[in-house]
C-alpha cells in the first residue's frame, strides 16, 4: 500500500470579480511508498502548498483522486495517523505553548496523562521546554516553527506532511529539522515535505519530485536523477610540461587552475578524459586524483525550472 496516492489531480481556483478559472495543478499523479522520505521541490507559486492542502483536505480537488494511507483525503480516522505542519504556521497567540499542544492533544483524543507525557517528550526533543509556559505571541519565528513541528508529531503519526519546514529557520534550526527528518526516516515513518532549500533535500530524501507551473516535470530516486548526468571530470596532476597543456587545451572545460605544485584540470567529458590520460602518462606527469563531477540537485532543479520560466 502507498502512503500517498495522487491520481490525475487537477485544481482550479476562481479568482476576481468575474470568477475567472485559474488552474493551479494539472494532471498530477504521484505515489509515495510507506517509509519513504519524499522531497517536493518547486519554485514559488508552482503549486506545492496547494498539493499539501489537497492532501490534508483543506482544499477539494477540481478533479482527480487523493488517497492517504489508502483512504480518501479527509477521512477522520486516517487523520489520526497523520501529522501536518502548514507553511508559516500561525497559532492562537494568547495560549501558552503548553496550552496549545494540550488543545491539539484533546482534538486528537489523547488522554490527559498521555498528553502531558507526550508534550514533555516533544518539548525536550525540539528544545522548546524552556518556552512552553510563555504565550505564543512572545515566540520567535523559529520557536513557532518548532511548536508547529511538535503539534504535527503529537499523535506519533505514521505519515508526516510538512510544508516548507525549514523556512524561516537559522542555520542551526535548519540543521535540527534536518536531523529530525533523518530520525523520522530511521523510525520508518513516511515523510512528504516541500522545500526550496535544496541542499537539505539532497541529504534527507529518498525520492524527489519537481513541480513547475502545476505540473510534475521530474521525479525519481535522487541518486538516479543525479548520477545520470556527469557534467565534467576533474583531474589533479603535477609535473605537466606547459606546452602539453597548450596542446590539450581543446579538451578542457575551463582553464587549468594552479593549486600549489598541483594543477587542477577539468575534462569536458569521458571522451576528453580518454584522450587526455594517455598524453599525460606519455609525458610522465603524476596523476593524483580523477573525480567525476555530477550535477547537483540545485543544477538539476534550475535546468528543469528555467526553460519554462523563460516562456
Amino acid at each position: 500500500m502507498f502512503a500517498i496516492t495522487i491520481k490525475d489531480l487537477c485544481k482550479e481556483y476562481r479568482v476576481g470579480f468575474l470568477r475567472k478559472r485559474v488552474r493551479v495543478l494539472s494532471d498530477l499523479s504521484l505515489n509515495v511508498g510507506e517509509g519513504e522520505v519524499f522531497g517536493y521541490l518547486g519554485p514559488n507559486g508552482a503549486g506545492k502548498t496547494t498539493t499539501l492542502k489537497l492532501l490534508m483536505d483543506l482544499l477539494r480537488p477540481t478533479s482527480g483522486e487523493v488517497r492517504i494511507l489508502g483512504q480518501p483525503a479527509g477521512d477522520v480516522r486516517t487523520k489520526q495517523q497523520v501529522g501536518f505542519l502548514p507553511e508559516q504556521p500561525n497559532f492562537y497567540e494568547y495560549l501558552t505553548g503548553r496550552e496549545l499542544l494540550s488543545f491539539y492533544g484533546q482534538l486528537l483524543g489523547l488522554r490527559r496523562s498521555d498528553r502531558r507525557e507526550r508534550i514533555a517528550t516533544l518539548a525536550r526533543e525540539l528544545r522548546i521546554d524552556a518556552a512552553l509556559d510563555l504565550p505564543l505571541r512572545k515566540y520567535s519565528k523559529g520557536m513557532l516553527q518548532r511548536i508547529g513541528l511538535a503539534q504535527a508529531l503529537l499523535n506519533d503519526p505514521k505519515l508526516i506532511l510538512l510544508d516548507e519546514p525549514m523556512s524561516g529557520l537559522d542555520p542551526i534550526g535548519r540543521r535540527e529539522v534536518r536531523d529530525l527528518l533523518l530520525r523520522l526516516k530511521s523510525e520508518g515513518r513516511t515523510v512528504f515535505f516541500s522545500s526550496h532549500i535544496i541542499p537539505d533535500v539532497e541529504v534527507v530524501c529518498d525520492r524527489v519530485g519537481i513541480l513547475v507551473g502545476g505540473r510534475l516535470v521530474a521525479r525519481g530516486p535522487l541518486d538516479e536523477m543525479l548520477e545520470a548526468r556527469i557534467t565534467s571530470i576533474e583531474v589533479t596532476v603535477s609535473r605537466v610540461p606547459p606546452e602539453l597543456l597548450e596542446e590539450l587545451d581543446h579538451l578542457f572545460m575551463t582553464r587549468p587552475v594552479t593549486k600549489g605544485e598541483r594543477l587542477l584540470l577539468t575534462a569536458k567529458d569521458e571522451d576528453a578524459l580518454a584522450a587526455l590520460l594517455p598524453r599525460l602518462l606519455e609525458h610522465k606527469a603524476v596523476i593524483h586524483a580523477i573525480v567525476p563531477q555530477r550535477e547537483s540537485l540545485e543544477e538539476y532543479f534550475i535546468r528543469h525550472v528555467q526553460p519554462r520560466d523563460a516562456l
Partner: protein, 254 residues
Amino acid sequence: MKVAAIALNTFKEAVRDRILYAILVFALVMLAGSTILVTISVGGETKIIKDLGLACMSIFGALIAIFLGIGLVSKEIDKRTVYTIISKPIDRYQFILGKYLGLVLTLLANVGVMALGLIGLAYLGEGISSPRLLLAVLFVFLELMLVTALALLFSTFSSPALSAIFTLCLYVAGHLSADLRLFAARFGGAATKLSAETLYFLLPNLSRLNFKDQTIRSLGTEGGTTALSFSYAIFYIALLVLAAMAIFERRDFK
C-alpha cells in the same frame, strides 16, 4: 470532547476581547443609570428598571453576538489557525458546532452578569421579582443565540465587515417583520401583501421572542405560546447552524 475543547477555546479567546468588556460595562452603566429615571417618573418605578434593563440586555447582547460572531470563522481562516485544527481527526461540522457553542457560552456569562444586575436593582425597588422576569431573560438569551447563529452563518462565507452589516440588517428586520406584515395586511395591495408575507416567513421573527412587555406589565403568558416561541427559536437556530455547517463543509481554505 473535541467539540467541547473547541468551544472552551473559543470562550477563552472571547473573554480576552476588550470589546466584550467595553460593551458589558456600558450596558451595566446604562442599567444603573435607569435608576435615575425612576426618581423622575410617577409610579411604576421598577417597571422602568425592568423595561430598560431587558432592552439593554437585548441590544448590548446583540452587539456582543455580532461583534464576536462575525469573526468566528473568517478570522480562523484569515489567520490560518484553521489549518492545524482541520488537519486533526475532527469533522468540519464539529469545528462549527464548537465555535458556536463557545460564543453561546460567552453570551451566557454576559447575560448572567446583566441579569444579576437587573434582578439586584429590581430587588431594591420592589423586593423579589416574579419568575416572569427570568422568562423574559431566557427569551432575550434565545434571541441572542439566534443572532449569534446568523453571524456565524455569514462568517463562514463573507468578510467580517459584510457579515456585520448582514447580521445587523437581519436583526433589525427580524424585529420589524411582524409589524411589516400587519402594515401590509391593512394598507398594502396584493403584491405588497405577498412580499410582506414572504419576508415574514423567511426572516427570523424576533418579535416572537419578545416577552418584555408581558413581564413588565405583569400580563399573563400562555404556556402554549411560550412553548411555541421556544420551539420556533430552537428550530430557527438549528437551521442556521446546519446551513453554516453545510457551507463550511464545502469550503476551500486557500
